[in-house]
């Protein structure tokens, strides 16, 4: 029964992962008008669906990067399995809840923050609460890049810089090369380039991100004794995760799309192509090297870079600073929610009752945030409106 809750909440996480990250691939195409908002999200959703099915690679050890609740072959630690694995299930459930809560809050604020960081943060928090500091994989054994520091914190610092640099160089080159070509002509041409490069980013997103949820659900199934194969993932898990991430993507996180597409940089289609090209290249290369970077950090860095690389373009650093602040607190904030929900569940006996109560708390929080979002809705119709410059607002008030 706890298992059912874990599966449902994991799929809900996958769904928030989808709409949180639509912006990474499609914000620039929507902002420049290369694709209409509806077509863009439909394309991104479809490609995420395809991408999720393409990723048959076993992602069962996804939690091993940050916490020690599994052995290296993917089997859950035996000492967590007493009583139908409920110890492990509660940790995973609390971790997922932490991840979802943070994803929803950042969506409400229109901030692109990494869904994988939210998930990892939640898991770390729940593990700290449940097993203490020894349950967390801080830095691996030092022989390879591993642990919270090696696989989460350092890559997060590096990825926006790498992507930003690549996009800045790309943008600069593009503007140098196309100098002397009529602007109308370049706009049309680069829109096609944008659509292509954005599609690539969507596909890569589906292959990378859906896997994480598949791994978590399969871990829960093994812990409760409903699945034993650590080499494969049940097909229904794969199908459900693919559908959850694709429908989330299709829903579109319009608030985040607006921030990334209009808020950070006034983007023209050559910049959009440079940004998505950089994102796609960096994401694919890094996952090919087994050094997965957060799609969100890469995409944001790229868009920022495309603003730096274009001569005379404005970058709204104030928006950028807000985003970076959100990234920094993602891990501890999701961790805090994860830890708190674990304590609540533990206080209620650490069994079914606890699991039901924390899931109900999450649902209540989600509904509250959704209702709050209705006060100032962002939707396909107004996603491209002019970005209200806070500075201009202040001068009128003064």
């Amino acid at each position: 029964m706890i298992l059912v809750l874990v599966v449902v909440v994991a799929l809900a996480f996958d769904f928030t992962n989808g709409f949180h990250d639509t912006a990474n691939a499609m914000a620039t195409s929507i902002a420049t008008g290369a694709l209409t908002p509806k077509v863009a999200v439909a394309l991104a959703g479809a490609l995420n669906l395809v991408g999720a099915f393409l990723s048959v690679e076993v992602a069962l050890t996804v939690t091993n990067a940050v916490v020690k609740i599994q052995d290296s072959d993917g089997a859950p630690k035996p000492d967590l399995l007493s009583g139908g694995g409920s110890d492990l299930l509660i940790i995973v459930l609390a971790g997922l809840i932490g991840g979802i809560a943070w994803n929803l809050l950042t969506w409400l604020l229109g901030l692109p923050s990494s869904s994988s960081h939210a998930l990892f943060g939640g898991l770390i928090g729940a593990t700290l609460a449940g097993l203490g500091t020894s349950g967390v994989n801080w830095n691996g054994d030092g022989s390879k890049v591993d642990g919270v520091i090696g696989k989460v914190i350092l890559p997060a610092l590096a990825s926006p810089v790498i992507a930003g640099l690549v996009a800045a160089v790309g943008t600069w080159l593009i503007y140098r090369i196309t100098a002397g070509v009529a602007q109308r002509f370049t706009e049309t041409g680069f829109r096609w380039g944008q659509i292509g490069s954005a599609s690539l980013v969507s596909l890569a997103h589906g292959t990378n991100d859906a896997q994480k949820t598949m791994g978590v659900i399969t871990l829960a199934l093994i812990a409760s004794g409903h699945w034993t194969d650590t080499e494969n993932i049940p097909f229904w898990v794969k199908a459900c995760c693919a559908l959850a991430i694709a429908s989330g993507t299709y829903l579109g996180g319009w608030r985040i799309i607006r921030t990334l597409g209009k808020g950070l940089v006034e983007i023209a289609s050559p910049q959009g192509m440079a940004a998505e090209g950089a994102s796609g290249a960096v994401i694919l290369i890094s996952s090919h090297l087994g050094f997965a970077l957060s799609t969100t950090h890469v995409a944001t860095g790229s868009i920022l870079g495309s603003g730096i690389g274009k001569p005379g373009a404005t970058v709204r650093w104030r928006v950028a600073v807000r985003m970076v602040a959100a990234w920094v607190i993602t891990l501890p904030a999701a961790g805090l929610v994860g830890a708190l929900t674990w304590y609540v569940a533990d206080l209620l006996g650490g069994g079914l009752l606890g699991a039901v109560v924390i899931t109900a708390l999450l649902t209540a929080a989600a509904v509250a945030m959704w209702r709050h979002s209705r006060k100032e809705p962002v939707h396909p119709g107004n996603v491209n409106d002019e970005w209200e410059a806070p500075a201009a607002h202040q001068t009128t008030a003064a």
Partner: protein, 102 residues
């Protein structure tokens, strides 16, 4: 410190290959656009009022060649994703890409 060293090893590779593919392919595409504008002539290029640049068919041909190259590179990228999903790896040992087991 050892972690930082390991990290740096991965980062510089991503940065170099990223600059080549992520910066180079869009630049190549831009070159295609440039060639296309040269090939199309007329209002596709910035020009002094009244003097329309003549179209150059060779520019068009070059543009199509460049776009084909970009598409090829993207197709290769997709192949890499799909292949790794099926436990295969794209190898460039024979210059042209071949699929092999990981």
């Amino acid at each position: 410190m050892h972690t930082l060293y390991l990290e740096w090893q991965a980062i510089w590779k991503i940065l170099v290959v990223g600059l080549i593919l992520g910066g180079g392919l869009p630049a190549l595409f831009a070159l295609g656009i440039r060639a296309m504008a040269y090939g199309t002539g007329g209002d596709a290029e910035d020009h002094p009022a009244g003097v329309l640049p003549a179209p150059h068919p060779v520019g068009r041909a070059l543009a199509y060649l460049i776009f084909a190259l970009v598409l090829l590179a993207v197709a290769l990228g997709i192949l890499v994703i799909v292949a790794s999903g099926f436990g295969k790896e794209v190898s460039f040992a024979d210059v042209y890409p071949t699929l092999q087991d990981k």
